[in-house]
Every structure is written in structure tokens, then in C-alpha cells.
């Protein structure tokens, strides 16, 4: 049986636990498990909550290096927010992350993510491995709009709402910064292959704008958001949400002729 190797953030974490609901059972199948089952592959899922794109690229690279290439059926990177800062500690290389990069700014975090996307493609193409990637959450928009309190923040202070944001600090002005971020992203548009969410034509060159979480959220527009998320306190996909994401990944694998 070939292997499906996947990495990502909390939305791709098989051991996902909600800080808001520590006693709840989250052992339902996550999207990578649905996709692996559909493809008849053995799943190697490396996703972990809170991590960013350096973690995603590095864990995939590590896993590909240590797996005989003929055993690999498909590699998927479910990219996260650009401004997270990953690092490793200790003999066993435990991964950790800062929610916001401590030194760099948003524009340059985006650029670094673009290079990680490129490096992932190059890695897979070098070894002729079937691959695809997509944005799971927004690359920069959440920080640009002002970072909302985390689930933990809300748990500690229940009075916090979505509006209690950490404001974005512009480099020049919001407008100029966003134009430059989009210009940087657009530079990579034609270098990206098998990017499963890049064909949504609302903003042609910003291929990172639409995400698998947006796809899931499309479902609630005609219904109740609570059907697809963990709870009003925790917006991670619930069991139904994961199924919706998996169905979309499976459909797009075919549309993009990935395998």
C-alpha cells in the first residue's frame, strides 16, 4: 500500500484537541484520514496545532527523505498563516512556534512562505513524487485584518469577542502594504503547480486568497455555521467540516489531475 504524506496546522492534526473544550472527544476522522481511505493509501499525517509553514515544509522534507520514494503515493501540504514562526528544541527536535514572527513583518513573512511553497514543489518534482498543496487558512489576511483572540485568550477572558483584535501595524500604509503583499504573491502565481485552491477567479493573481476553510464556510452560508465548526468559541472544523474539506480535496485532486 502506498503512503499519503500530509502536513499542516491544527486543521490537519489527527490529535486535535480544543483548549476551549478539554473534555470533549475529538477522535472523529480528520480530512487526511478520509482522503487516505478514498485513495486506498496508508496515511502518514504530520500536522500539528499552532505550527506554521516552515514546520509544514520541514516535516514533509524530513518524511520524504526517510521514506523509500517508491512507497510514496501522494504528498499534500496544507499551508497555514505566513506570520507564524516555527523552531525546534532539544535532542528530539520538538517543534514549537510563536504565533507571530518576532522579528520579521507580514510582507516578508508572506515572501518567505512563497519560497517554502516553491521549495516544496522542487522537492517533490526532484523525486517525481505526486504532490499538491493548498491554503488551509488565510496566508496573511487574518493578521492584516487584526489578529483575533485565540481560543485560549477567550477561555481565560470570556468577555473577549472577535472585535478585540491586535491591530495590524502598517509598514507604510494599509493600502500600500496590501498592494505590495499582493504583488509579491502574484510574482509566484505562474510558478505554482497543483495548488488546489488557485483557480477561484475572484482575484486572479492572489492565488492564496481562497482556502479550504473558505470552501467549508461556503456550506454554512445557506445554513448554520455551527454545523461545521467545533463551537462558537472554537472555529476549527468539526466532524462534518472535516468531511467537507476531504470531499473538496478529493474532487480537486481529480480536477487538477494530480493522480
Amino acid at each position: 500500500m502506498k503512503k499519503l504524506i500530509v502536513s499542516g496546522d491544527s486543521c490537519t492534526d489527527l490529535d486535535f484537541e480544543s483548549v476551549c473544550h478539554p473534555t470533549w472527544d475529538f477522535s472523529w476522522p480528520k480530512w487526511p484520514e478520509h482522503v487516505a481511505k478514498h485513495l486506498g493509501m496508508e496515511l502518514v499525517c504530520l500536522g500539528a496545532g499552532g505550527q506554521g509553514n516552515e514546520f509544514i515544509y520541514s516535516t514533509l522534507q524530513d518524511e520524504i527523505l526517510h521514506t523509500p520514494h517508491e512507497e510514496i503515493g501522494l504528498v499534500i501540504a496544507a499551508w497555514s498563516q505566513s506570520h507564524r514562526e516555527d523552531y525546534q528544541e532539544g535532542w528530539f527536535g520538538r517543534w514549537r512556534a510563536n504565533r507571530v514572527h518576532k522579528s520579521s513583518d507580514l510582507l516578508n513573512c508572506v515572501k518567505k512562505s512563497m519560497r517554502q511553497f516553491m521549495s516544496f514543489q522542487i522537492l517533490c518534482e526532484r523525486f517525481n513524487l505526486p504532490y499538491c498543496h493548498f491554503m488551509m487558512g488565510a496566508l496573511y489576511e487574518s493578521m492584516f485584518k487584526g489578529l483575533e483572540p485565540t481560543e485560549l485568550d477567550k477561555l481565560i477572558n470570556p468577555k473577549l469577542t472577535k472585535d478585540d483584535k491586535i491591530d495590524y501595524k502598517p509598514i507604510r500604509s494599509r493600502e500600500l502594504d496590501e498592494t505590495e503583499i499582493k504583488r509579491q504573491i502574484a510574482k509566484y502565481k505562474y510558478k505554482m503547480k497543483n495548488f488546489l485552491t488557485d483557480n477561484i477567479p475572484k482575484e486572479k493573481l492572489n492565488f492564496t486568497k481562497f482556502t479550504m476553510l473558505d470552501v467549508m464556510h461556503e456550506y454554512y452560508k445557506n445554513g448554520d455555521i455551527d454545523e461545521y465548526i467545533v463551537s462558537p468559541l472554537d472555529y476549527h472544523p468539526n466532524e462534518k467540516g472535516h468531511k467537507v474539506i476531504a470531499d473538496n480535496v478529493i474532487q480537486r485532486l481529480s480536477t487538477y489531475k494530480v493522480i
Partner: protein, 257 residues
């Protein structure tokens, strides 16, 4: 039209290198990438920068290769730096900045990150069938375990006070040096099966104890008596004009061997 030589690295490779310790010295002599390109009859694109780490070195070379007509690339050559350095970009002009050591993580994570960059660089060149080489310019992790030297600006301050910078205390490594060295060496050797060692001059990663070497130690710091005269001064160990020629000659010989 001439082929292009793309070079990446730190201060030993930086064509605009300036000595912090001796700002009065004109350091505009040709650096090894420019000398090597001339010897190979190539055009040089040198993206190296002083003080920058392996993250910058990989990313700058990736960007350059991505934006260059790959048919024209004759050789890519990279001199890696210390694992503990951290580089990032800031502001709209995408200016790179650096820290002498990363405030997050530890030497194990930094070394692993560097090794993954080495592999990313190898993949990048192999993916596009580019002729490439890489080497460790200065030690990957041993300087950190030995205890870091003071910053260049601290050395300058001491020199102003007529104090001997060589006698300045090093930052003490908080772990078990012997045990951690062994662990890090094992980590490097674990990567050996993935590295094309024919293209890595001085593998394993410049580590003496494992039979590797850094370019610095083979050229400008080879033996104390030989190294003198190839470096800027006893306090600034960067190669001078003669040292840069020596580095180029060493690499030229490796390319032709």
C-alpha cells in the same frame, strides 16, 4: 554569451565585505566568487552577505536561480555558515537583517534546520540539472559549543581600551559540550545518505573529527604560520586579498579534480 556563476554565502563570500574591526581598511579586493568566475570565464552573480545565516543563503540562491535563465547558469556554489545565525527580511524594500544567534530554539534545532537547507539546495540544483557545489565556510556548530566569541563591535570597544580581544571571555555553552557534540555529529552523519558528497566539499559538513573540513581551515586558517598573512589581522580572521585568492585556487582545484 557567458555562462553565469551564482554564489551564496556569508562574510567570507560577500563582495561588499567591510571589516567592523578595521573600518579604516579598504576591503574592496576581489572576493573568491568574482575571481573564480573570471578563471572559469563566467559572469558572476554573488548574493552573499556578511553576518547572514543559512536561511538567507538558501533563500537568496533559490530566488536568484528562480529568476535567472537556467540555460545560462554554468555553476552554483554556496559556502554555508554557522547554524545559530538567524536572518529575516523587513520593510517594503525587503531588507535582510540578521541576529548573531537565534533567540528561539537551540543548537540541535538550528543544526537540523541548516542540514535541511543543505538538502533543499541540493534538490533545487538537481531538479533543474544545474552544476553545483557547496561547502562549509566556517564551522556549523562547534563555535557555539566552544562558547561564542564576543561580537565584532565588542572587540572594537576592547581594542579602543587597548585590551586584548583574544582574552575576552566567551559566552559559556549551557549544555554538556562533549555529549552534545557527539549527538550533533550523529545528526550530521544521519544526513549523509541524503547528501551527494561528491558535490559537498569537505563533507561531513566541515566537521574535523569526522574527516570533514571547512574552507576557512583549508585555506586562510590552515596552519597558524600559513594562515597569517592571508587574514585581515590577528583580530579579524576574514580573508584578505591574498586569502581570497587562496580560497579561489582551492575551489578551482576542487572543480577540476
Amino acid at each position: 554569451m557567458k555562462k553565469i556563476l551564482i554564489a551564496g554565502g556569508d562574510s567570507f563570500t560577500d563582495k561588499n565585505f567591510e571589516s567592523w574591526i578595521h573600518p579604516e581598511i579598504d576591503t574592496s579586493w576581489p572576493k573568491w566568487p568574482e575571481l573564480l568566475a573570471e578563471k572559469l570565464d563566467m559572469e558572476c552573480i554573488n548574493v552573499a552577505n556578511s553576518g547572514y545565516g543559512n536561511d538567507y543563503i538558501y533563500e537568496s540562491v533559490l530566488e536568484t536561480i528562480s529568476n535567472t535563465d537556467r540555460e545560462r547558469i554554468g555553476l552554483v556554489i554556496v559556502g554555508w555558515s554557522q547554524a545559530q545565525r538567524k536572518t529575516w527580511q523587513e520593510t517594503k524594500k525587503l531588507i535582510w537583517k540578521n541576529k548573531r544567534h537565534d533567540s528561539d530554539g537551540d543548537i540541535f534545532g538550528w543544526t537540523k534546520r541548516s542540514l535541511l537547507y543543505y538538502l533543499s539546495y541540493q534538490n533545487l540544483c538537481q531538479r533543474w540539472n544545474l552544476k553545483y557545489l557547496h561547502f562549509q565556510t566556517i564551522p556549523l556548530f562547534s563555535a557555539w559549543l566552544e562558547g561564542s566569541w564576543p561580537d565584532d563591535d565588542e572587540i572594537v570597544e576592547k581594542m579602543k581600551l587597548n585590551l586584548d580581544p583574544e582574552k575576552m571571555p566567551r559566552l559559556k555553552y549551557p549544555g554538556n559540550k562533549e555529549l552534545d557534540t557527539e549527538f550533533l555529529e550523529d545528526m550530521v552523519m544521519d544526513f549523509q545518505k541524503h547528501i551527494d558528497i561528491n558535490n559537498f566539499i569537505g563533507w561531513p559538513a566541515g566537521i574535523n573529527q569526522l574527516g570533514g573540513y571547512c574552507l576557512e581551515h583549508k585555506t586562510t586558517r590552515g596552519r597558524e604560520d600559513e594562515g597569517r598573512g592571508l587574514r585581515i589581522s590577528e583580530y579579524d580572521s576574514h580573508p584578505n586579498a591574498k586569502g581570497q585568492i587562496k580560497m579561489m585556487e582551492f575551489l578551482y582545484e576542487k572543480i577540476n579534480s
